[in-house]
Amino acid sequence: MLEIRNLHASVGDRQILRGVDLVVPTGEVHAIMGPNGSGKSTLSYVLSGRDGYDITEGEILFDGKEIIDMPAEERAAAGIFLAFQYPLEIPGVATMTFLKAALNAQRKARGEAELTTPDFMRRVKVAAEKLNVTQEMLRRPLNVGFSGGEKKRNEILQMALLEPKLAILDETDSGLDIDALRVVSDGVNALRSPNRSMLVITHYQRLLDHIVPDVVHVMSAGRIVRSGGPELALELEANGYAGYVEAAA
C-alpha cells in the first residue's frame, strides 16, 4: 500500500525529514511514536501533499505509484486521508455541508456518481451515531466552537464517510477523555479492514491498548530509527526516548 524510501524533505533551508524508510502493507496498522519535533506531523503532511515542502530525495509509492507530484486533492480522491493533529475551523460552513462537498468531490474525481441528499444523510446518520456525533453538531459550522474531543471525533467521522485506503491519524488521541478515547478507538477499529492501511501517530501507549498495531516505529530527528511489534510501545513507555535521540544525533 505505502512504501516510503529514503525520503528527505525540508522547509526553506531547514531539513526536517532526513531519510525516512517505511513500508505499510495493505491491511496493516502501523504506529509511529517519537519525541516532539521529530517530524511525525511533517511526514503526514508530506504524504498527503501539503504545499511548502521541498522533497529533495526519495520516493513515496502509494499502491505502487509515485505520488510526489500528485496534488493533494487527487491524493485524497485516491484514498489518502489525514486526521489532523489540529483540525481546522471553517466559519459559516455547516459540518454537514462540508462532509457532503468533500464526499461528492472525491466521488466525482473517481468518476462515481454523486450521492443524492437522502443517501448522503443516511450514511452520515449511521456513522455519526457510532461516534456520538449529534445532529446538532452536524448543523454547526465545521469545528467552530467544538471542544478538542469533538474535533477529533469529527475527524474520525470524516474518515468513516470517506472510506480511505490509507488513513493517517495524527495524535487523534490527544485531548480525548477516557470515554471519548474508547469511542474513537472503537470507531477506528471498526474501520480496520484487509483493504485499508493505517498509520497511527501517537505519544501514548494507552491508544495502542485500544488500537493494537501490527508494527510500531520510532521516529527521531527525521528518521525511523527502530521498528518492532506492539511490545516496543511498552518499552518506550517505560524508558522514554533518551536512547533514540542520542542514536539519531
Partner: protein
C-alpha cells in the same frame, strides 16, 4: 447545502479568462448624438413624450450639474471621464411596448437566456407557471427602455403600480411629482444631479395603503450599447402599512472602453410600511489586466418617512471596475428601522468603495449594518459607513459589523467608519474583523478532496452566509454562484 454544491459545480465549469457574459447583442439603437448639452436633455425628454414640468426639472438639474465637480473622497482611482464623449440616450429599435412575449424581439429573449436568468423567471417570461407558488415579476430594462412587463394584470388587481418610470411620469404625474427627488434631491451630488438631468428610464413602484405586494418584483439591467452612459432612475413608494420586496440584478457585455453608470434609486416608506431592496450586481469588471469594465457611481437612498417603517438594503456586488455606492437610510419616523447587508467582492484590479449611511432622526430608531468585503487579486475593497444620530433621536441604536476577508497578499481591505452622535442616549456598536484565507484552512479542504477553487468557494460562502440569508431564496443561489465566479483564479 445544495446551493453550495451548485456553486462548486458552477465554479468547476467555468473558463478562467472568459467573462461569462462577455457578448454583444446587436439590436440597432436609436440614440442621441454624443455629448451633453441642454439640447440633449430636451431630446431625451422629447423622446419620452414628457410633460413640460419634467423637462424643466431636468434642465434645472443640468444647469446645476454644470456648476459641480466630481467628488474625490472615495478610495478609487480612474482616468478622467470625458463627459462630452458619451452618449446619453439609446433605445432598442422598437420602443412600442409589446402586448405579449410573441411580440418581443427574439434577440432579447436570447439575451436573457445567455444571461442565465433563473429558470423560474424564464418560465414566467414564457408564460409557464413555476414549481413554486412564489412568483417573480420581471420588468426588463433593456438598454434604457422597458421592453417587457409581465404580471401587470395581477399586480393591478392588488392596486400595485409597477411600470417604467417614463410611463409613470405620463400616467401618474401627481405621485411622481410628489416623490421624485424627495429623497435624493436634484442637487444631492455630482452623479445624482447628472442622473436627474439625463435619466433614461427605470422602474416605478407604488404600493397602496395596507397592500402586501403579491410577488417579488425584479428588474434586470443590462448595458448594451457601446459608450452609453446608463442613467437609471428608480422610485419606490410604500404607502402606510404596505410591503414590497424588490430585486435588481445586472450583467454587462465585455467592453474595451469604460462604461459609466450613474443610477439613482429613491425609496419612500410611510407609516408601518416595509421595503426590502436587494441587488445582485455583476457588471463587467475589466479584463485580467484591469482594462475596461464598468464605472458604477450610484446613489441609493431610502427614506423611512413614516413611524415604524422599515427599509432594508441587501447587496451583492461582484462586478464593475469601480464601485462607488452607499445605499442609505434616513430614519425619520419614530421607531423606524434601517438595515444594510452587503457582500462586496473584488478581484483583479477592481476598486470598491461602498458602504452605507444610517441617519437617525426619529426617536428609538434602529439600524443594523452587516458588511462582508472580500478582496482578492490586486483589488482594493473599502467599507465606508456613516452612522449619525440627530439631537432628537433619543434611544437610537445601531449595530455595525464589518468583516473583511483577504485572499492573497496583493489586495487591500479598508474600513472607514464615521460616527456622529448628537444625542447622549444613542447607542452605537461597531465590530470589525479582517481575516485571510489561511493556507492550513485551504489545505484542510484539499486534503478532503476539494479543489482549491471549490475550497475558496466554500470558505467564502461560509464567510458571507449571514448576508446571503437576507436575499430572497430564489436569488441566494445565483448570488453564491456570482461570488464564486468572481473569485475564479484567485488562488493556486
Amino acid at each position: 447545502m445544495p446551493a453550495v454544491q451548485e456553486t462548486i459545480d458552477q465554479v468547476s465549469l467555468i473558463d478562467v479568462d472568459q467573462y461569462k457574459y462577455g457578448f454583444v447583442t446587436d439590436i440597432e439603437s436609436d440614440r442621441a448624438p454624443k455629448g451633453l448639452s441642454e439640447d440633449i436633455v430636451r431630446f431625451i425628454s422629447a423622446k419620452k413624450n414628457e410633460p413640460e414640468w419634467m423637462l424643466e426639472w431636468r434642465l434645472e438639474a443640468y444647469r446645476r450639474w454644470l456648476t459641480m465637480t466630481e467628488p474625490k473622497w472615495a478610495r478609487v482611482h480612474y482616468p478622467k471621464i470625458d463627459f462630452d464623449d458619451l452618449y446619453y440616450y439609446s433605445a432598442p429599435k422598437s420602443t412600442k411596448g409589446p402586448k405579449s412575449l410573441d411580440e418581443v424581439d427574439p434577440e432579447l429573449l436570447a439575451t436573457y437566456e445567455k444571461l442565465g436568468i433563473p429558470l423560474r423567471e424564464r418560465e414566467i417570461l414564457a408564460g409557464v407557471e413555476g414549481a413554486s407558488d412564489r412568483r417573480v415579476a420581471v420588468d426588463a430594462v433593456f438598454d434604457s427602455v422597458s421592453v417587457v412587463t409581465t404580471f401587470k394584470e395581477e399586480l393591478k388587481k392588488a392596486g400595485v403600480i409597477f411600470c417604467a418610470i417614463s410611463e409613470a411620469i405620463r400616467e401618474y404625474p401627481e405621485i411622481v411629482k410628489k416623490y421624485l427627488g424627495s429623497v435624493v434631491p436634484t442637487t444631492d451630488n455630482y452623479y445624482a444631479t447628472l442622473n436627474s438631468a439625463v435619466f433614461s428610464d427605470g422602474s416605478f413602484v407604488y404600493i397602496p395603503e395596507g397592500v402586501r405586494c403579491p410577488m417579488e418584483l425584479s428588474t434586470y439591467f443590462r448595458i448594451n450599447e457601446r459608450n452609453t452612459g446608463q442613467f437609471e432612475r428608480t422610485l419606490i413608494i410604500a404607502e402606510k402599512g404596505a410591503y414590497v420586496s424588490y430585486l435588481e440584478g445586472c450583467t454587462a457585455p465585455m467592453r474595451d472602453e469604460n462604461q459609466l453608470h450613474a443610477a439613482v434609486v429613491e425609496l419612500v416608506a410611510l407609516d408601518d410600511a416595509e421595503i426590502k431592496y436587494s441587488t445582485v450586481q455583476n457588471w463587467y469588471p475589466g479584463d485580467k489586466d484591469g482594462k475596461g469594465g464598468i464605472y458604477n457611481f450610484v446613489t441609493k437612498r431610502g427614506d423611512c418617512r413614516g413611524d415604524r417603517s422599515k427599509i432594508s438594503w441587501t447587496q451583492v456586488e461582484t462586478g464593475s471596475a469601480i464601485t462607488w455606492k452607499y445605499p442609505s437610510c434616513i430614519l425619520r419616523g419614530d421607531d423606524s428601522q434601517g438595515e444594510f447587508y452587503s457582500i462586496a467582492v473584488s478581484n483583479g484590479y477592481q476598486q470598491v468603495d461602498s458602504g452605507t449611511k444610517m441617519i437617525h432622526l426619529g426617536k428609538r430608531t434602529k439600524s443594523r449594518i452587516i458588511s462582508k468585503g472580500i478582496a482578492a487579486g490586486r483589488s482594493d475593497n473599502t467599507y465606508r459607513g456613516l452612522v449619525s444620530a440627530h439631537r432628537k433621536a433619543s434611544g437610537a441604536r445601531n449595530f455595525t459589523n464589518c468583516d473583511s476577508l483577504l485572499i492573497g497578499d496583493k489586495c487591500g481591505a479598508h474600513t472607514v467608519p464615521y460616527i456622529e452622535s448628537k444625542n447622549a442616549s444613542a447607542v452605537f456598536e461597531h465590530e470589525a474583523t479582517t481575516s485571510k484565507i489561511a493556507d492550513d484552512q485551504l489545505f484542510y479542504c484539499l486534503q478532503r478532496g476539494l479543489s482549491s477553487e471549490e475550497a475558496v468557494a466554500l470558505i467564502v460562502n461560509g464567510f458571507v452566509k449571514d448576508v446571503i440569508q437576507q436575499l430572497p431564496m430564489e436569488f441566494a443561489v445565483e448570488a453564491q454562484k456570482l461570488i464564486s465566479i468572481s473569485l475564479e483564479g484567485s488562488v493556486g
